[in-house]
Symmetry: D2
């Protein structure tokens, strides 16, 4: 039983004011690096950022000398699934849920800790078991456990649970229906597939009830998940525009960002029509080119390195469709159009068995492994044409902006939360240096990275058991 006590023991105690001096500061906003920079942190936020000569260290401040180091904002991942969602579409999901049922909140916390250890100080979880992810979010926010700061959408509106047709229907045939039903209900959280059968006026109160659960954003399944999963060359619309508008209205009325899942050009257009704020994996359009007039509005983008893509294609993997063919062309189109693009990886903590199945345990190119995913993403996106500076902005301030959190986080600027990552090597020279993490600070406090994850369940060697 994890005791719900504050975990301050995991942070080194800090004085009220800290000054990081002599650092090369990359502020996450896309400008040139600040050489010999000074960053002052007070009350968990940045209070001053500037060159050493212009930025005095407040008297009594704890001074940290970062000579030869590089500082970037804490990374912000705009699309993760802290219960591994990618894996649940293939083998492994049954064991995962059976093994961890009753402690999914802990599994989510473990993922958030793995992310934090790598410098990802904030994540946006865009599909997950609603109850457990909100519980983990709250426990981390309250300081009961360490972890990347979590914002959560819960279920994707209209999607079924892990053992329905949207994820792993085949699994449902070999497992206990009682178990499958319990899991499905846990994920669907009242906004599951039956919504596709309801007229707009019946959908409205369902969305209101869902918002009342306290989600941070709403993700709507504009297109279906099923046909993409099954490899069919088609894509359905989950909802009529009448219903989509109701979902958008309610979400925006609650002051929350609206996210979309789309797999087709028509889906993208409908998402844009209703004022979607974050278009998740906009480049995935069932291999049809995005028309020019839609490109200008696009925002979300997953990507993989060309090396990994090559391996996916060589092994005829299902996932080759993720960034291959027309989808790669779509990515390029989006980048060339200067559309705001943000870091999003679909990553989670994958069980060791599944990594072993794929021969990808420890593979730094695997795009869905929390802890290294954001570095692989940065490598992939720079291959596609971004500069390192742009890639860093896309991994920090751009995500915050997409979700309307730019006043709070995502850049090293006075007033923002003091999330920063100290790097050994220069990421502007080689973006892979984003992985050379020396230290991570979240809300101005140093993270005890060696202690994370606290109590490995998923990332532990199988089958360590009491």
């Amino acid at each position: 039983m994890v005791a719900v006590t504050r975990w301050f023991v995991y942070f080194a105690p800090m004085p009220t004011t800290t000054a990081f001096v002599h650092a090369t500061v990359i502020d996450g906003l896309g400008g040139p690096p600040l050489r010999d920079g000074t960053i002052v942190v007070e009350e968990q936020r940045f209070s001053a950022v500037g060159t050493g000569d212009r930025t005095p260290v407040p008297p009594g401040a704890h001074v940290i000398d970062l000579r030869g180091r590089y500082v970037v904002p804490g990374f912000v991942n705009g699309n993760v699934h802290l219960l591994d969602g990618i894996m649940m579409m293939g083998v492994g999901g049954v064991e995962y849920l059976a093994r961890h049922e009753g402690r999914l909140t802990q599994v989510i916390e473990e993922s958030a800790q793995v992310a934090l250890k790598a410098g990802v100080t904030t994540v946006f979880d865009t599909w997950n078991a609603t109850g457990p992810v909100l519980a983990a979010r709250d426990r981390i926010a309250a300081g009961a456990v360490p972890g990347a700061r979590v914002f959560a959408a819960g279920n994707i509106v209209g999607f079924g649970g892990p053992f329905g047709a949207d994820f792993h229907l085949a699994a449902s045939r070999v497992i206990s229906p009682t178990f499958a039903g319990r899991m499905n209900r846990l994920f669907e959280a009242g906004v599951g597939p039956h919504l596709s059968l309801l007229p707009a006026r019946e959908v409205r109160p369902v969305i209101r009830d869902y918002l009342a659960r306290g989600v941070d954003m709403v993700k709507v399944g504009v297109t279906d998940h099923l046909t993409g999963i099954w490899g069919f060359e088609r894509s359905y619309l989950m909802f009529s525009e009448r219903v989509l508008r109701v979902i958008a209205e309610e979400t925006h009325a609650a002051g929350l960002p609206l996210l979309s899942h789309t797999m087709s050009v028509e889906g993208l257009r409908s998402a844009l029509d209703i004022g979607t704020n974050v278009l998740i994996h906009a480049s995935i359009t069932s291999q049809r080119p995005i028309p020019h007039e839609l490109v200008g509005c696009t925002a979300g983008l997953q990507t993989v390195t060309s090396g990994y893509q090559g391996r996916l294609e060589a092994s005829d993997s299902f996932w080759a469709m993720y960034g291959g063919g027309v989808h790669a062309a779509n990515e390029k189109l989006i980048l060339e159009a200067g559309v705001p693009v943000m870091l999003g990886t679909d990553a989670g903590c994958t069980p060791r068995d599944v990594l072993a199945d794929a021969g990808e345990d420890g593979d730094p190119e695997r795009p869905w492994t929390l802890g290294t995913d954001h570095v692989a993403w940065a490598r992939g996106i720079t291959e596609k044409g971004m500069t390192p500076t742009e890639a860093i902005a896309a991994s920090t301030s751009a995500v915050a902006r997409a979700y309307g959190k730019q006043e709070e986080l995502g850049s090293i600027m006075a007033g923002r939360r003091a999330d920063l990552v100290v790097l050994r090597d220069d990421p502007l020279e080689d973006v892979a240096a984003l992985g050379t993490v020396v230290d991570v600070y979240q809300d101005g406090r140093r993270v005890d990275r060696d202690a994370l994850p606290l109590r490995p369940l998923v990332t532990a060697p199988t089958p360590a058991r009491p």
Copy 2:
């Protein structure tokens, strides 16, 4: 080899003018029967209809005395699949298509002959292999072979072929992909599932090409077929409203009726919004009640007898959903609202093996067996509240009206095509008497019912082979 010569040998030669006298005439328009009626036929059309005392027999006319007989218009079935579509969703479709490949046109003609033999002088085929059904339609229209008059939609726009996910995906895993692909292309006819991925402006020329093939109407998959087939409790929209409007515009611009396939309330609403003319199986809404405001516009309705429905439910059959639960309530709602309802049965000629599998060979209640389907439908619909007179109108003039053919056929009225059925028993007393066919006339000519079907392929005992 069927020679393409006129098959007049199957008709008794007729003089230019015929008069049926002393008949009880039910004109198909819903009025009271005409006792001691006289019907005059000239040039393949009715030229006069009235009581014997008011309707003189033209001099030189061939006179047929129908004392004690009952005359109704030739039946018009608004929803058939002359290649058995119901069967293709279960077992049997692979053998059916493999066995008859290369002579599907003959199989369709066989079905049209089985229908004609039972008095169904016109059918609207709303899903079929486009090329073969148009060929059969033309051969029947040209008099090359006998058969019910056929109007054909070809593929349902957006649907995949028989071995795709919309009908029998499992089959595709055990058959030759080359064969499966050839069959799928034959059915899809260029308007298959890939349309769901196209924006409106790319859909428009595809629909124009399809219309140019000469179909008589266009049926659009407003909702998907897949989730209904697989028993999922959801229903997707195949197309955005943008695309739906393009399909409707092009169809109406070509002067053709637009039909819809829907499986949800939202689908029904979209179909109505775009001006759909015929709502096929409107009562099937994935078990959600049709809202009151939508009822007023509904037109199409399948039904089954309560006896058959009872058996479906007792055996836990997939097809129990066809007319069970909320769907039965929807049927009732539609009928009570006085919405125009037409005969439609999804019927075809089912192979003997499949009938044997189900224990339904020769079963008069099976709603999908051409030749008896319309009688079973009439029994079912009168159980739900129609009078026999209404059921006859629904099986004749109502269908013609739904398809805009009311000036041509569907009633015993001067000017209409002289399609009529002579019955032994009074259908107004017991609607099952629609099955007591004594004689059938199509375009004023007596059908040689004993000769039909000419060359049985599907309805022959298996495996009679040369």
Copy 3:
């Protein structure tokens, strides 16, 4: 963490000598009950059994007055699977193994505790994960944990693990191959399916290695498991008679009993030919009658109550074949021939989810639920013609004799281990009274039944988790 310390706390401490007096004693050997019986226990064994007037209570003995109570030997179940084997052939096995991996020994101990609580003081486990079941056996034997005394065969020679074709091949397609392989190896323990490919001289050293692991008996798959599981109307022989003889020779040379799994008449004959000691479920012969000449040697027999069998048949259950049709006739034949028959149930502890799926949680007639299985068996076997006295002998001394343990256990006789069950009601009047357990003694010590199972994993309500 379960500490490996002696669990004597679960036994009430006992003096060296105990006398049970005024009991009605049914000795398990088939004779008439002893009224007003006295049973003396010394050093964990019975030292005297007789009527009160002839059997003096030793001075200083602890005296327990059982006036009005009935005493039977501790039950001995000749065929259990402490990891639920029946369940692993259907849904639920994946979750079961995923959930409990790393603590299968504890799950086995839980089952042994559930059995002990119900008076089953000894079980013969005839299929299980070899390592865990031997570990549990040893921990129970050493007094580290309570539980029914376990004798274990480990794997069935030639059978594959739970995710191979012999149990649940379909499951292997939706789970991690790494996980599946690890589980399969755990169960196969070196004597898996590849043995069917080896000539006799290569099989011999494999069997010797297996015997060296310390199993208590060897069970050989004379016929396959696969075709029975899949419902095929056939049965293969796993091994040639050449190989079977080698397995029998090595087992008997090690002084161990040989058990057989057979599903056909030919399998039964081969099992008899090689001197098999215990013929597990001999009545199951793929619905072919056992020839008369084979009946004389048969020993093992599963059975179910007619009520449960009726339900299986009504719901068209796979398990209806277990005791239905010709198999019921075989049972009768065996009983009428006077063949020694023993209690064997295939029972284990089934997860609550799976019981809920089947609507059988708490169902006293379910034949595979440890704790009530032996009572259901006794009811079933008396329905088939045994007297209660015979059913009790079949559940105690007959099992011991089949396994060559009759000098050790299975009867209330001087020299035997002091395992006994005190009943409230008279089982000779109604055999269901075997379920009215008042007290259980194992090796002369009173079992603290209220404490069992110590730490429920499988039988706990789902999903109680730390």
Copy 4:
């Protein structure tokens, strides 16, 4: 309906006596070629064979000058399936049987004609639909239709039909059970899988009844077919040795050869123990090496060219196991031991669709395509070490000897049936020259190769249909 009249029209009429002169004669018995040879044919048999100077041409003989040509005996294929058996284990079998049901005899005749056209004058069909293959055999023997001379085993004793677990169980789930059952019964012919459940004394009369149907040989399933098909690493025995002996006794008592299907070393040993005459695909032992003591008795051998094997392995084909890994080593072992080896290919006429699926339409290396299979086999076997002379003997006299027909056919020797093939190129130089057929003579009559196959059903382009 094909009329059963003699097809002499397909042969050029011949005088009583024919002399082939100036040929290079390879007699099929393994000796050196006879240069400038003369072959005299009288009454459908060879009457003299010798050098031109020693072998006078009888007066009045029709003389055929074969200067520059090579003559070999008509090929004899010891293992074919004239209804394509290989294909029935993958996709295509459903369509094949559905398409041709009711004319399987014609399909078999078509295969025999394709074989004959290529110079294969005799085939031994070792698995087929019993009724149709015996009918085709009889029609060919009676001269009603042309074709390779057929000897047929019918079903493999113990095997299920094409839609059972032994061939294509998955297919049975998507087709009509009535159809599947009818097909299965047609193939099983009373000696299907239920035999595995019967004791020896019940098997005996079943075998007698089967022999009474007039089969030419009996093939027994010593090991199962199922596990090999499904890729399981195991192999069962279908029958006890008690039952195997009964099958062997009855077959030999009827004077017929006994063939075995085996997939394991133990199976091979059992086959040898009961005096099997022809060990079909003896080298296939589920990848276990054949022990040395068994090699001396082996006789049957399939093989593929290394090129084709390489492609199978590169594409990870199921069929790679046919000649790969230990099986290739087994082949080598058998050849080095000098065991008599015969041509056997499992070939049939594969539908065009299935060939297109595999990209192997017209592929001369495909080992299962009748017409080119024997040439591919000869290429494969010479790669493994045979000389061309040995390969020719293995393709002619060796097969005849294995089946006890050496006095009748398989060599160019006085007294044998006058089956011969005239080749353009020298096969002793390059064994691929066996495919350079100029003329084929069967029973002394020239085959009208251009006319074959008479009425293509399977080998016609799809879907030519009346």
